[in-house]
Symmetry: C2
Subunit: 426 residues, 2 copies
């Protein structure tokens, strides 16, 4: 009978002398005068097998099976290696990879990293980056599942642009034009009318015409919307708990990735330091008629949160109504300001959200105030004649979150197969 498979991670806990079977890739061959090593990589880590010198070993990246004896050796990864091994290739010998994956760091330029993504993601440090993303998704969902939210999936092909007419991809939809959804905004709002609390994890599309280190043509949006709120403060509390759940899941499910990358994972305070937009401007000495926070303002506020409150997170709320999406709810006491907010993480905007308008007449007035025609928004706005309670929500960009967490200089580094102005493959 076949020996059951042992993972690299489990090898050190195997009884010495027992027969083991590992499967993975040839991570590295080292052929010395008196001995040869094969370092095997599987989804859990690395393991070492020791061969007589001159034993023919398959080239790096070939998938292999190694059967042998678990033997204690303080020099081996985890203190146990495989001796008397027999190695069998499980596929053709692999071509030489474009980068040397066995080196501790992938020292390569961004174009090589992205052109050879199917290979470069195999590097343990690169794979660890995605493990943070996957863990974060788990934490996002489990936090919201525990609070009565319902997962939804909404159309990515829509009749008209939801956010604005610009930056939208046109699709030939059976001979007529359709557009790729820039967000599930409309759908999550009307679904509050059905489920009260909804979330969606899915792709959104922005025909971003500029090459920047922070924008992608497709990204994973973590969308949340909840009904029966008093105001945006409840929405901010939900956001705080959601991000805390993501951080907790990173520790619980991607602890090895955190360790390998040497990450400083943030702590989400019970109450995130929060400033009104006016207070934020005053604090950083910016003119009080600024329409929005500039990047240097966000950095200054990030430094303030860090220094004054020991927090990597700062919430700014009450942005000027005229400069936020038309569906943002104004502050009833002073409609110049809105019940919108941003969550800054380490001095950069990570999340935008708001309480939304929920009355039909308010939508009509908000569109008119901006000089937008009603027609393209008619079916959106009509939904608010059918009983939508006060509600609000937010959207977290998965890749932006992971980029900030890892300190990546370019968001493309943390995206499995990024799409941008120039890149449509792999």
């Amino acid at each position: 009978m076949k020996v059951p498979r042992t993972t690299a991670h489990a090898l050190p806990t195997t009884a010495p002398g027992s027969r083991v079977r590992l499967q993975g890739w040839v991570h590295r061959r080292r052929e010395l005068a008196t001995v040869s090593f094969l370092v095997l990589r599987d989804r859990t880590g690395l393991a070492q097998a020791v061969f007589a010198p001159g034993t023919p070993l398959p080239p790096e990246e070939t998938p292999v099976e190694v059967v042998g004896t678990a033997t204690a050796n303080a020099q081996a990864p985890g203190g146990v290696e495989v001796t008397s091994p027999v190695v069998t290739a499980l596929g053709d010998p692999a071509d030489t990879p474009a980068v040397e994956l066995w080196r501790p760091r992938l020292d390569t330029g961004l174009p090589t990293l992205l052109d050879h993504a199917a290979t470069t993601w195999r590097h343990p440090r690169q794979r660890a980056v995605w493990e943070l993303a996957a863990a974060s998704l788990h934490g996002f969902r489990s936090t919201l599942d525990a609070s009565g939210f319902t997962e939804v999936h909404t159309p990515k092909l829509v009749e008209s642009a939801t956010e604005s007419g610009a930056n939208v991809f046109e699709v030939d939809y059976f001979g007529r034009p359709a557009y790729l959804a820039q967000s599930p905004q409309f759908y999550k709002q009307v679904l509050v009318g059905v489920f009260e609390r909804v979330y969606e994890v899915g792709p959104v599309f922005r025909a971003e015409p500029h090459d920047t280190v922070r924008h992608l043509a497709q990204y994973v949006s973590l969308d949340v919307e909840l009904g029966f709120v008093e105001d945006h403060v409840e929405v901010i509390a939900c956001l705080r708990d959601t991000v805390a759940g993501m951080v907790e899941a990173v520790h619980e499910r991607a602890g090895r990735a955190v360790e390998l990358l040497g990450l400083d994972v943030p702590v989400v305070p019970e109450v995130v330091p929060t400033l009104h937009f006016r207070e934020a401007l005053a604090l950083i000495g910016a003119p009080e008629d600024e329409p929005d926070l500039a990047p240097e303002h966000e950095r200054a506020l990030g430094a303030w949160g860090r220094e004054e409150h020991g927090s990597d997170f700062v919430v700014v709320h009450g942005y000027p109504t005229a400069h936020r999406a038309f569906y943002s709810h104004p502050d009833p006491e002073n409609p110049r300001w809105s019940r919108s907010f941003d969550l800054l993480f380490r001095g950069l905007e990570l999340v935008s959200g708001a309480q939304r308008l929920h009355r039909y007449d308010d939508y009509v007035a908000a569109l008119a105030a901006r000089g937008y025609p009603l027609a393209p928004y008619a079916s959106y706005v009509e939904a608010f004649r059918r009983g939508i309670p006060p509600h609000g929500g937010f959207a977290i960009g998965l890749e932006r979150w992971v980029a900030r967490l890892t300190g990546a200089a370019n968001i493309r580094e943390v995206t499995l197969f990024p799409r941008d102005l120039h890149r449509l493959a792999p």
Copy 2:
């Protein structure tokens, strides 16, 4: 201080005489000579409040808050109702809905159901249908998470069609043509090279030119791929466990939906009755040179599974290689047959899967055998020079699964906002 919110579901467990606050929609008003009732609907169910006759009550579907006293009444839903209530509208009075949501069943034609989806999904029986979908997604992920799978998210904008040139939507991608992904097939295969085991839940797009009750232009695909398999039997075992996990989650997380809809939820046998394609044809008396199973064959096999094994599920494997996707792995003992399979659920194909080819030369030969040019597949095929182990996978269509579970006649009935040849809104 404000009384905390009570849900309709929790009302019956509230101490009689205590003050309660409910939020939801006016599900129904009943104005009798001596008393008026307001039935409130929230995400958890229905609750009743009792008013003096003639009290003005907001129209159906208006979001409201009801504050009053919890009082035992055997006639009320759950045995407790709200007396001495004060009702406050939380939005404008709702327009009269297109359908009467308070009736036990939504007796309406499909066009009305779909045109007014934002409203019709509020019906408790309709909402229950999506609760089955959301629970199934949870079960899918939790089963795979527990087996070392990594969640991935892959591009939906691609350079060339993956599955076949037909039925693909073209996108204007910054002035050049791109296509909406028909499946994450290529990406999940190359990501086996990174993570060994991956899954993705996301939209896939098919420009299906026919109006059928089983096809959508966009649907949610539950994709799985796993490496280091011996053959397709391991892939089938993974599929069995995944579907069993989905069924378990339906019971655990959507029990009220199951009860409301009176569903007969299937039991997934430890070992699903399995037939080779040849055996299947012989069993149902079909000619042995049939290229595929026709719908009547699938129905007959479903009846066989039910009658002979008490199973709602049947696996057929070994379909003719020439009639499956070119990346299907042939049976090494007789390459006329492939290591592909379908899972039939109640006599209808629910899932397709296979062990895939994993060697470069095999891909080149498979394309040549079908007379396909290599060029459009070059970057796909090239990936198999870089060390991809033996692997296989499958894809479950979420909407198809829910349609079979509920016995829906048309897949559109179980899709939140379906897309098809004619429908691009809401």
